[in-house]
């Protein structure tokens, strides 16, 4: 019968370090993207080939979108690596999770049988790790621009009770961002996996197809939302607040 587990299953250990099916598929995603990146690097030329053309269209599109939010191309190029890596990693992981064999090829026997691969975003460790990296990096960017003293004063401001309260709310909102990032992506992908598994169990032929399309769409939208929210948080963090502008 259907076995739904919130936790990613450990399939082997490196020494004492556990490797789950979600970590394995995330690593496969990294390998695929790294391979494509190396091939692209070798073929980079002033007159582009097909792969470079496609890459340039995607990168230019992403940069234009970032220009709309950040205002300048210089800023967009500075924050592009983080935002685009989040997008490409999440979308690749989501789409790899939809491939046949993922969640259905099992290792182990009987009751100990677990899927060899699992969609990385259906494991909270993946979404939490990416969320932590995004929020931490946003704060690092803001610290680089405004200095550590100013950045801390955003969260701990003792100029008055209202400022202190606003600062604490800011601090709380950072944690809220991590949680919302983590559970939004996890919830959508995990729910999609469960939905697909149930549909496949109830009606294995044709009926799951529309849901597959839905998951393709959800996979893109969730990666896009994650990257766009990171971008918006960067913009909020690196733009001087009212009253601060004169100081910078």
């Amino acid at each position: 019968m259907l076995n739904i587990s919130l936790r990613a299953e450990t399939i082997f250990h490196i020494g004492t370090w556990p490797i789950t099916n979600a970590v394995l598929l995330a690593f496969i995603a990294v390998l695929i993207l790294a391979t494509v990146a190396i091939i692209l690097r070798r073929k980079l030329a002033m007159t582009p080939g097909m792969l470079q053309n496609v890459s340039e269209v995607i990168v230019e599109g992403a940069l234009s979108l970032m220009d709309d939010v950040l205002g300048t191309r210089e800023k967009s190029e500075r924050y592009f690596p983080l935002v685009f890596t989040i997008f490409i990693f999440v979308i690749t992981s989501n789409y790899l999770g939809l491939l046949p064999g993922v969640s259905s090829i099992m290792v182990g026997h009987g009751a100990n049988a677990v899927p060899l691969l699992r969609s990385p975003a259906s494991d909270l460790n993946f979404t939490l790790a990416v969320a932590l990296i995004a929020v931490t990096t946003v704060n690092i960017f803001a610290t680089i621009i405004f200095g550590i003293k100013d950045r801390i004063s955003v969260f701990l401001n003792f100029k008055g009770p209202i400022q202190l309260f606003v600062g604490l709310l800011e601090l709380l909102s950072e944690f809220a961002r991590i949680i919302s990032f983590t559970f939004r992506l996890f919830g959508n992908v995990f729910a999609g996996e469960v939905l697909l598994a149930i549909m496949a169990l109830l009606a294995p032929y044709l009926v799951p197809l529309p849901f597959m399309f839905l998951e393709v769409f959800v996979g893109f939208i969730q990666a896009f939302i994650f990257a766009m929210l990171t971008l918006v948080f960067i913009e909020l963090a690196v733009t001087p607040h009212e009253g601060e502008e004169a100081g910078h």
């Binding site: 919130l6 936790r7 979600a22 995330a26 990146a37 890459s55 494991d123 460790n125 990416v130 990296i133």
Partner: protein, 173 residues
């Protein structure tokens, strides 16, 4: 129960499957991807896009410059054409004028030569006439002498020189 809260938290994290080792594994995956993409894609590709943008801008600038220069060259060409046309017209006018002068000079020359030649011809004619007249006079003298000899054959000595001269004078008229 101060120890209960961390324990409950740990239990919640366990139930959700959150584990610091797996968290680090996924973070390393992400960091690895970020580094690889930064080295192999972002840096070279963004540099290439910037370079190409700069080249396109430079190309457009050069094209504008070339258009401007072409326009200038076109203008210079038109000016030169106009100058050349003016020069050609001036040359034609001067040539026409020179030709007219030459024609007049040649005509004058021809007229002068004609006059000279006609004068020479007249002089030659006069000389010839003079020679003819002399020859005729000689012949006439011979003839008259012969006629007179015949006429006065019997007494040639009686032929008076004055008679001969008179006869010659009459033959002239």
């Amino acid at each position: 129960m101060p120890a209960a809260a961390p324990h409950a938290m740990q239990q919640l994290l366990d139930q959700l499957g959150i584990n610091w080792e797996l968290l680090i594994s996924q973070a390393v995956n992400f960091a690895l991807l970020l580094i690889v993409l930064r080295i192999f894609v972002y840096k070279p590709l963004l540099k290439l896009l910037r370079d190409r943008r700069a080249r396109i801008a430079e190309g457009l600038m050069k094209a504008d410059e070339a258009d401007r220069r072409l326009h200038e060259v076109d203008m210079i060409g038109k000016e030169r054409m106009k100058e050349a046309e003016n020069k050609a017209v001036a040359i034609l006018k001067r040539t026409e004028h020179d030709a007219r002068e030459l024609e007049e000079r040649l005509l004058g020359e021809i007229k002068r030569k004609e006059t000279e030649e006609s004068a020479q011809a007249a002089a030659r004619l006069k000389v010839q006439q003079e020679e003819s007249r002399r020859a005729m006079e000689k012949e006439a003298a011979v003839l008259v002498r012969a006629a007179i000899v015949r006429t006065v054959e019997l007494a040639p000595e009686a032929i008076d020189d004055a008679l001969i001269a008179r006869a010659v004078k009459e033959s002239r008229t």
